[in-house]
């Protein structure tokens, strides 16, 4: 019976005008497009320079800045007021003002002042831009002083080494998290929408008057999506390797074991939503709402540790957070089962909890 029902689900999925395409296009798009778009690296900052000194040294500085790949020189202004206007029109993100007497003072005193103003509407961009610019200025000063034979003021030079992601490649950080998102959509929301769709079409009721046990009916709905989820997951691994050269440092079987538990969690959540919604529209809105919250407080884009205390508490009940942690730990740090017991316990807890809730809510809303 169960086999027959699963066969029916597969037939329907294949015949559907949209879902088969979605199952291929979605992982490919998510893996090939999203990591590029969802980057937090700040590049192409538009800079406007007001050079009031018009000296050799100030011109060299302008050249150095425009040669950097962080900045794009979009204009030169003749006064501070003009430059501010450029920011207001959105032509510049950051301003550098070189006061007159820049060259003289640098040669005479070995130090001088410039002013940086940055548009902080996008706080990260503004802040990072100013920091990058200061770095360039410092480097420039060292170079020039060396050329001029002036002994520089002693400074502390820092050497950085980044663990687990030495190149600070944002894609390596975001890809494991994106895979999590994909699994949530494929295995949590699609089967739930499918069930609500059957409710709406009345076919669910037609099956309910037959002796088919409800448990088999629901299980037959979930199994095809679990299979699809595992295939999509493998496809993502292959794409990550092929396009980004990204392979898990840890064991891939660890990921599959965690993914299996995670699939139970998300399909349980999907079932809960399907039990409480009677129309597709209703289910879509509820899912959209939860998806937004779960993604924003999962640590997918922003680190959980920099959230306010109350938000950190909410992340404790977000299953996405734990699976993202697992994915990143296995991919980047090479963690094994031993280091991930907290996540394992949390995910098992969510899997059991969500499915019990699903069963109870199902009993309540139907005969």
């Amino acid at each position: 019976m169960l086999v027959f029902l699963i066969e029916k689900e597969f037939k329907q999925i294949i015949r559907h005008s949209f879902i088969p395409k979605l199952l291929i296009v979605f992982p490919v798009m998510v893996m090939l497009v999203f990591p590029w778009a969802a980057t937090m690296e700040i590049k192409n900052i538009s800079i406007n320079i007001t050079d009031l000194d018009h000296s050799t040294l100030s011109k060299k500085l302008v050249q150095k800045i425009s040669a950097s790949n962080y900045f794009r020189l979009t204009g030169l202004s003749s006064s501070h007021a003009d430059a501010i206007e450029e920011i207001e029109f959105g032509n510049a993100d950051i301003l550098l003002e070189i006061k007159s007497g820049f060259e003289k003072q640098l040669i005479r005193e070995g130090a001088t002042n410039v002013s940086i103003s940055s548009n902080a509407v996008n706080g990260a961009k503004g802040g990072l831009g100013a920091a990058y610019l200061s770095g360039i200025l410092q480097e420039y000063t060292m170079e020039q002083l060396a050329i001029l034979g002036i002994k520089p003021v002693p400074v502390i030079k820092t050497t950085e080494s980044y663990l687990f992601n030495p190149m600070l490649n944002y894609k390596i950080f975001i890809i494991p998290a994106i895979i999590t998102m994909l699994l949530t959509m494929l295995c949590g929301f699609l089967p739930a929408l499918n069930i609500v769709g059957e409710k709406e079409a009345g076919t669910m009721e037609q099956i309910n008057v037959t002796p088919v046990p409800k448990f088999s009916f629901i299980l037959a709905k979930l199994i095809p999506y679990w299979i699809i989820g595992v295939i999509a997951l493998s496809l993502c691994f292959a794409l990550a390797n092929l396009f980004y050269g990204l392979t898990p440092s840890g064991s891939i079987s660890t990921i599959y074991i965690f993914a299996a538990i995670f699939l139970l969690v998300v399909s349980g959540l999907g079932l809960i939503i399907s039990n409480y919604s009677s129309t597709l529209q209703q289910a879509m809105f509820v899912m959209f709402f939860f998806m937004m919250i779960m993604i924003l407080i999962s640590g997918l884009f922003t680190p959980v540790s920099s959230m306010p205390k109350w938000a950190q508490l909410i992340t404790m009940i977000n299953p996405l957070k734990y699976f993202i942690q697992v994915m990143r730990a296995v991919y980047l740090k090479g963690s094994g089962m031993g280091e991930l017991t907290v996540q394992m316990v949390a995910l098992i807890f969510f899997a059991v909890g969500a499915n019990i809730w699903a069963v109870i809510s199902y009993r309540k809303t139907t005969h």
């Binding site: 029916k8 079409a201 009345g202 076919t203 037959t210």
Partner: protein
């Protein structure tokens, strides 16, 4: 008694869908539930098909309680809801196989039962159910409801939206199924189909106005019924309603039916004595009900 219903009540919020419904259907009968849209027919069917829980009252099908023994009932009933509820994205044969399998049966086992109906849709075996015409869908739905040889068949408005010829054919099929010993509970908003049932219940606002055989219901019409044929009917209707001698008057097909407070002079021109139909009885009962 195949179906026993006693004091069934169901309310949705503050709206009463069914109020204290009781009736019995003997083995092998066609029992019709006749009433307008929103009278509570579908609610009654859903309770009997174990899809909905009543607020109070009990119902048994072949001795099984609809609440306690719902699993047993599901093995012996066939249910065809008013709206087409088969898989539109599965073909005719796939739908049939699915429902046969759902009852742990197969198409061959009870083929004799659906043969007459199925042969008409067999040429479209591989067509998706959603692409069938209305009449074909109805035949397929009936096949799916019959595939496990149910003891009781619930048909909720099976002929709504079906043309007159197909309706006639459909009732002939029901007669044949009845001969096979299947008890049939059927609802319809069409009064002309009422006379084809063995027994009918007239339902209005969640209550049964009357339960009897069609013949007896017609006999129970308390007055002489007259008909007028006229051209300016709507205009006449208003005039006649204000006439103090006339008890009731309403449109009936292309003429008007009326009853008098006292039997009139038999030589009235234009007015002919007619035999009342189930529809006349229903209108009469509804009117009586609203006065009480």
């Amino acid at each position: 008694m195949k179906i026993k219903v006693s004091h069934l009540t169901k309310a949705y919020g503050t709206t009463d869908a069914l109020q204290d419904i009781s009736f019995q259907v003997p083995d092998g009968q066609i029992f019709g539930i006749i009433g307008p849209d929103g009278a509570g027919k579908t609610t009654l069917f859903r309770i009997l098909a174990t899809l909905l829980l009543p607020n109070s009252g009990t119902a048994t099908i072949a001795g099984f309680d609809t609440i306690k023994d719902y699993k047993k009932i599901r093995n012996i009933i066939g249910y065809m809801p008013g709206r087409f509820s088969l898989y539109q994205d599965l073909s005719v044969i796939e739908n049939l196989e699915l429902f046969a399998t759902a009852y742990h049966s197969n198409i061959r086992e009870n083929y004799h039962l659906i043969k007459d109906i199925y042969q008409q849709i067999e040429p479209f075996n591989d067509r998706m159910a959603g692409k069938l015409s209305g009449g074909m869908k109805q035949k397929l739905a009936l096949c799916c409801a019959l595939i496990h040889k149910p003891e009781v068949l619930f048909l909720d408005e099976p002929t709504t939206g079906v043309d007159a010829v197909s309706r006639k054919e459909f009732w002939e099929m029901l007669r044949k199924l009845k001969d096979q010993g299947i008890t049939i509970l059927v609802s319809t908003p069409y009064m002309d189909e009422a006379s084809l049932c063995d027994c009918i219940a007239l339902i209005q606002n969640g209550t049964f106005l009357h339960i009897d055989t069609p013949g007896k219901i017609i006999d129970s019409f308390p007055k002489r019924l007259y008909a007028i044929e006229g051209d300016q009917r709507t205009q006449n209707l208003q005039q006649l309603r204000n006439n103090p001698y006339i008890d009731s008057v309403y449109l009936y097909g292309d003429r008007m039916h009326l009853t008098f407070k006292e039997d009139p002079d038999p030589h009235l021109p234009e007015v002919v004595l007619v035999t009342p139909s189930v529809e006349d009885c229903f209108i009469w009962l509804m009117k009586k009900d609203s006065y009480e």
